[in-house]
């Protein structure tokens, strides 16, 4: 009987923890949170079990996107330090298992969403999975430096889906929430890609810092922050939120702009000297959590 150390790990059935890792749980947390906020700010409420199911479906769909993304990008992930230890490039799982898991999870989430809430929400959920996998991962990401700009739409779906799951129709506020995440994605990802650009270059991914240079990316981050801040504050003057949200969004967006300006002014080219970029990346995650949390609090204070 061969010992475990002498055996190719891929020949073993994958550990359940590796299936969990395929779903990118940390990314999923932000997706679930934004979907939950979309659901909570809706003017009507679902029974708790249906609300829970809607959020579960959004989480499962996000997990499916993560699994299919890793199934498709196994060669790219193997070339990047940040992703080389994932189950597929590390050889702890075979590709077919990841594909079956991703497709199964995605199909199940769409079906359950349709049965539990409504089919418009299910169609939106299916569209978000297909957009992320086919448009972003397969088409845009390996081809254009604008991959994050257009691909950001995939991550912007959850609040819209959460709202539609409750109401069954579109409205101005969830479309604004969609716009906020859509415009937030480029500064968020470009801040990250600045200090891991050598990874992207090694993997042949045409991220903006690799293709257009560090200076150009820093300016783009600042310019994209301006419409993002405008979209973040917009619900207040449009009468879709109260003063609590309006003031909080203005303060949070102002800090974002200051950090983006620091990035634009930075001249460092070595990742070790990119504190401004690392601060902006960390703050951008906090920003989205805080903005959506305040919006929910504001709506509940109004009721």
């Amino acid at each position: 009987m061969p010992s475990l150390e002498m055996t190719n790990p891929a020949a073993l059935p994958a550990d359940w923890r590796d299936f969990l890792a395929l779903t990118k749980p940390r990314v999923m947390s932000l997706v679930v949170f934004s979907g939950l906020c979309g659901l909570l700010v809706a003017p009507v409420q679902l029974p708790p079990v249906l609300s829970f199911t809607a959020i579960l479906c959004i989480a499962l769909a996000a997990g499916a996107c993560g699994a299919l993304n890793q199934w498709y990008e196994v060669d790219v992930d193997a070339k990047m330090r940040r992703t080389a230890k994932r189950p597929l490039p590390a050889g702890r799982m075979d590709r077919q298992s990841a594909l079956h898991f991703g497709v199964g999870l995605g199909g199940f989430s769409v079906l359950l969403m349709g049965l539990a809430t409504n089919w418009l929400a299910a169609i939106l959920l299916a569209a978000s999975i297909l957009f992320y996998v086919l448009v972003y991962t397969v088409w845009l990401k390996p081809r254009t430096a604008q991959n994050i700009v257009i691909g950001g739409a995939a991550g912007a779906f959850p609040p819209l889906i959460g709202w539609v799951a409750v109401t069954g129709h579109f409205a101005a506020l969830p479309l604004l929430l969609f716009a906020i995440i859509f415009l937030w994605t480029p500064p968020h990802f470009w801040a990250l890609s600045l200090f891991v650009r050598s990874d992207y270059a090694a993997a042949g991914i045409p991220m903006l810092p690799v293709v257009a240079g560090v200076g150009n990316t820093r300016r783009q981050i600042f310019f994209y922050t301006l419409p993002m801040a405008a979209a973040a504050v917009a619900p207040w003057p449009l009468g879709l939120s109260g003063v609590v949200y309006g003031v909080s969004a203005a303060v949070l967006s102002f800090v974002f702009l200051v950090l983006a300006a620091r990035v634009a002014a930075n001249r460092a080219t070595e990742p070790a000297q990119m504190d401004a970029e690392k601060h902006l990346f960390a703050y951008s995650v906090f920003y989205l959590f805080a903005l959506f949390a305040v919006l929910v609090a504001d709506r509940w204070l109004a009721w």
Partner: protein, 41 residues
Amino acid sequence: MRLEDEVVRRQRARARIVALLLGAFVVLLFLITIAKTGMNW
């Protein structure tokens, strides 16, 4: 650890997880049915 032992350990762990998830799904479907028929708990 022998390869065969590790295969069995992983298969058992996965079978337990799948059983738990299927059980949870049955409960969830029951609750969804109750909610959809208007008996909100």
